[in-house]
Amino acid sequence: MSAGGSRVLVVDDEPQIVRGLRVILTNAGYRVEEATTKQEALDAVSVRPPDAIVLDLVLPDGDGIEVATDIRRWSQVPIVVLSAVGDERQKVRALDAGADDYVTKPFGSEELLARMRAVLRRKSEDGDSAVRLGDLEIDLADRAVRRDGEQLHLTPIEFDLLGKLAEHPGRLVTHRQLLQEVWGPGYEDETHYLRVHFAHVRAKIEPDPSNPRYVITEPGIGYRLRVE
């Protein structure tokens, strides 16, 4: 798949990792720019905003979470953070600060590219408001879900949840985002709502609900729709 020449800013101070990322992203059709410090990253984003940012959480002059927070004040450019293994808290903090998704170091090239495609995918891609996953079709305009053309009956909340995932197929949606957008402010901690309703959604749309193919859990963080 061509990345259509999107410009990606890679923010990392490890030369070997930057070199690897440059090779992977360039081969996938992206144009790569580099920054090695927090300051360089902020300068680069303000001078010439990229289409997406790959951001390491540990930088020599600060921390990636501060970069994400600063950028979010004035830009919605998609941010994918690189987090270390066993660093669940950092991951959650970065997502709360406005990062869109994460990959855990060390990562495979397919994983990184899948995340990049997901954060760069536009809502209105192909001018179609329907998302197709195998034999499943989620029609955001009609608020309908069909399997092999046959309509499945989801409650409004179940459709809202599935719809939030379908707006950005493949992209991580955190518990907080789902609770705020579906139930509204003040419900951010009621994560058990999500457990129960996603169990119902899976029971209706998944061929094998106990081994879900479409709605993927990121334990302790959120959910995403698997697109490939």
């Binding site: 293994v85 060390p106 058990h192």
Partner: protein
């Protein structure tokens, strides 16, 4: 105390008087019976017997009283002229004088022997008391040498036996006597210890003071011994910890070096000009696989260090175990492996309170272990349910099982079946157990070794949250 003594003394005087009167009365009765057959002066010697008896039993003063009384009665009732305290016959005067003198001498002699007997008795009592103290201290010393854990308790038990339950010890900064007990601070160097004696006890303050010093020395020796034992235990624990660290360092450096070597070798192979395309793909696969192996090992070491340091700090929230497991399975990269995982959970499981990302680590370890130990054509099954107040999920494999002798050891870090430590296998179960327990759950090994292995993760069944929007 004074009241008691005077009362006691009054009783004694009364008893002495009565007994003296009785002996004199008895002698008088015999004299009266024999009056017709013997001379009064001769009969006077009968009073001598009474005086002797009183002297032996009641002492010198009572004997003197008995002698005077006897002489007066003899004179008044039996010597002419009768019923007067005058004496007609000079023989009788002599006889009475002799009787009085004899009574005095006998009474004095008897009284002295009586006093000596009393002194001997007192000395015997004191000797018995000393013996009792000596036995008690010996028992205490035996308790000390026996190396009992709490020496104050042990010595106290010895004291209670030897002191017939009248004495006890207590270690406290301030005295804490029970009803009516006398307290005495033992002159110990180390912690303060108090000696208590029951109020009714036969122990005087002087007795207690006498045993206080040897007891204190014993306790000091005991305290010193305890300190020495504690120091050597600490030294031993430190030595063992060092030994364990060395073992872990050896294991870790081996586990880290193997994948690193494989990566380095693969890179060198890629650089060779003669390497075929097919080989290049194989070498790249090797680099990826070995890096994954390193990643898992480092992740496991990190988890283990957090668990061992008690720094797990779960972010507890409502968790659907099925939801967590589905997330875990979706992250297992190898499609051949993920196809072998069969989730056989029916319906919905109740939510439990736990940290989802830590449970993800638990199930990831258990499932990967199961995949590794099962034959390639056999599934790893995930079953579960609710029962006995718990929500339980089992990861069941068809591997060779765990021999009975290893069933408890497998949860120890760096233990691994068959000595296979690839991928830090020896850490997975220790980490799983650590995370499950930090989250208030339980990880157990179930199933017999012939039928594969089942690891059961259980959490308490709790009241479910109200209202789900």
């Amino acid at each position: 105390m004074n009241d008691m003594r005077s009362r006691f003394s009054f009783d004694r005087i009364a008893a002495t008087t009565l007994e003296t009167l009785a002996w004199v009365g008895l002698a008088t009765a015999v004299v009266a019976i024999l009056d017709s057959v013997a001379t009064p002066a001769g009969l006077g010697s009968l009073y001598l017997i009474a005086v002797l008896a009183v002297a032996i039993r009641r002492g010198q003063m009572a004997a003197l009283a008995a002698a005077v009384l006897g002489v007066l009665i003899l004179n008044y009732f039996f010597i002419q002229p009768l019923h007067q305290l005058t004496i007609a016959d000079s023989d009788n005067v002599v006889a009475l004088g002799v009787l009085l003198l004899a009574a005095l001498v006998v009474g004095r002699l008897a009284g002295q022997s009586r006093l000596r007997a009393a002194e001997a008795e007192l000395r015997a009592e004191q000797a018995a008391a000393r013996e009792r103290e000596a036995v008690m201290l010996a028992d205490a010393a035996t308790a000390l040498l026996g190396g009992t854990d709490d020496l104050v308790t042990a010595i106290s038990a010895g004291l209670e036996t030897a002191g017939r339950g009248e004495l006890r010890l207590g270690a406290s900064s301030a005295p804490d006597p029970q009803d009516g007990e006398i307290s005495l601070r033992l002159p110990t160097d180390a912690r303060p210890v108090w000696l208590y004696a029951a109020a009714s006890a036969s122990w005087t303050e002087a007795d207690l003071n006498r045993i206080a010093t040897p007891l204190a020395r014993l306790l000091d020796v005991a305290a010193e011994r305890e300190n020495a034992a504690a120091r050597s235990a600490e030294a031993e624990a430190a030595r063992q910890a060092d030994a364990a660290k060395t073992v872990i360092l050896h294991a870790v450096s081996h586990d880290l070096r193997s994948p690193l070597t494989a990566v380095r070798t693969a890179a060198a192979g890629l650089r060779e000009e003669g390497t075929t395309d097919e080989d290049r793909v194989a070498l790249i696969d090797a680099i990826e696989d070995e890096s994954d192996r390193l990643t898992r090992l480092i992740g496991n070491l990190l988890d283990l260090s957090r668990i061992e340091a008690g720094a797990v700090h779960p972010l507890t929230d409502w968790c659907d175990l099925l939801d967590v497991i589905s997330g875990t399975v979706s992250h297992i990269r190898d499609p051949l492996s993920s196809g072998r995982i069969q989730i056989e959970l029916e319906g919905e499981l109740p939510l439990v309170r736990a940290d989802a990302s830590q449970l993800d680590r638990v199930f990831s370890n258990l499932i990967e272990n199961g995949l590794r130990f099962s034959p390639p054509d056999q599934p790893v099954r995930i079953t579960g349910g609710v029962g006995a107040g718990k929500v339980t999920v089992r990861v069941v494999d068809r591997g060779p099982g765990v021999p009975g002798s290893q069933r408890s050891a497998i949860f120890e870090p760096f233990h691994s079946a068959g000595g296979d430590r690839r991928d830090g296998v020896g850490l997975g179960l220790a980490i799983s157990k650590g995370f499950v327990e930090a989250n208030g759950g339980e990880l157990r090994l179930q199933g017999d070794s012939a039928d594969g292995t089942a690891f059961a993760v259980s959490f308490p069944l709790v009241e479910q949250p109200a209202g789900v929007g």
